[in-house]
Symmetry: C2
Subunit: 316 residues, 2 copies
Amino acid sequence: MRKLPELSHRHADHRSYPPGVAYMDGQYLPMHEAKLSVLDYGFLHSDATYDVAHVWEGAFFRLEDHLNRFFRGMDALHMSVPYGKAQVTEILHNCVALSGLRQAYVEFICTRGTSPDFSRDPRQAENRFIAFAIPFGSVASEEQMQHGLHMAVTDVQRIPPGSVDPTVKNYHWLDMVKGLYAAYGRGADTALLVDGNGNISEGPGFNVFAIKDGAAATPDTSVLLGVTRQTVFDICAQMGVPCSARNLAVEDLKKADEVFVTSTAGGVMPVTRIDGQPVGTGRTGPLFNRILAAYWQLHDSGEHRDPVMYPEPAGK
Amino acid sequence: MRKLPELSHRHADHRSYPPGVAYMDGQYLPMHEAKLSVLDYGFLHSDATYDVAHVWEGAFFRLEDHLNRFFRGMDALHMSVPYGKAQVTEILHNCVALSGLRQAYVEFICTRGTSPDFSRDPRQAENRFIAFAIPFGSVASEEQMQHGLHMAVTDVQRIPPGSVDPTVKNYHWLDMVKGLYAAYGRGADTALLVDGNGNISEGPGFNVFAIKDGAAATPDTSVLLGVTRQTVFDICAQMGVPCSARNLAVEDLKKADEVFVTSTAGGVMPVTRIDGQPVGTGRTGPLFNRILAAYWQLHDSGEHRDPVMYPEPAGK
């Protein structure tokens, strides 16, 4: 008879996690305590939807749009949480306020959850809500914001809408990760995926825009309908710049005057090289710079701004 | 100034989980303590691979095949764990032995893991290994084993190989879940998905076989190369039953004499109705019954059997 190892009573995790505050199971927790059962189908089947809003200088930006998409996603996946939009809003505000972060990345998630007997029937599971606020992060570094991203257009096909609805924000990213490794192998910073017809689709966490002869365009199918993407439509409309959602061939992108990507994680970010070749002049372009400035100016206007109710007065 | 909720120090989770034992971060833990950071990219990007082996009457079945697939999957995803096959084998044996389960479902997982600053670059993440043993479960209930499953052939497309390699076992299941809800809506027990050409693919956790005129066939592309699927090939070869992997149209399945599905979670399981219509006679067929008997007899032979080293003598 051999000696078995001891069973531990509590899991001890010695890894480091970013600062921030999470909410789950009715509790507000430091990030390093925010843990999900490994049996949750949000993990074991990636059966989950989520959204990410950002807080900039102490205020949420377009939170209502993120909440609407999140609740639509839950409906589409036959999921529900015991909170309405007002309660989720309060939880998100609390996470940010408790974290003290004035620039934050705020993710909220609904997973299929678990059933006590590990039933395979998703209807038997109790769905689970999780939210967390951590420091704001960006797809592009400061240096990349200055000089632009180098993007590789890969032949990896974005998971098609016939398999998974891309407008329901989801965690199915193995195609994105495959694209990233292919891009790194070619010396690029990030990757773009294609759709089933070889047209451009989206990249890991962002939509892409091409500007040609003063008009902007972005793919319309097999992509997430990003909130930052929508903000660019709004900005272009205000500026009188034509902006359309349509099929874009890889060549449309490579021959564009300017290219940029959009994400809640970073806003609007320039792409100055594609597959080793310069886009236009190879420097951030004039229309991109106007859209960038307008994007951050919008954060100061009241329209999309939802100030976090911190316990201390602002500025302290 | 408003009052904020209190921050809890430790997460308390009041849900019920199945019995069993998990291993992670160097510790053996009761299932209800096996928790993953919500920041792990295995969750947030479903960036993970895994395998499931089963223990039947105190012994693993074809564990080597599951381990080989798991290590191949990690290579394909640029992941690694600080354990070789011998150490993973020991961990799995320990989980089962500590659980005391003589019939077990044993899952082992490698996730992309986390990086302390939440970097978006998968190369910066420290990969994480998790294993657990819980009571054996099956795709089919006892009643369904007797009378057969009712399967709906959905128009949901299985995530194609151009997006995600189906031979690297993964958690991208939103297409499967969509198929399941469609199947439930039509009064069926489970769902089958199709590939990009409309041929049949696989279902939630199983491969499918059609028997026509004494010969068996199963799809060859856009499917996981299941270990139980391989066992059926082996059994058919032994029996002198022709068995091929090839494209199968939906009609091939509907006009088959017998249909069955294969999964580590349950073995070989009969399908007697498809979209409300009987398969063949509408009862479990003679060739299926022979394959079923052979499948369980194989568990008694030494060839694929790897007895768990329980602390107590067997039979006690």
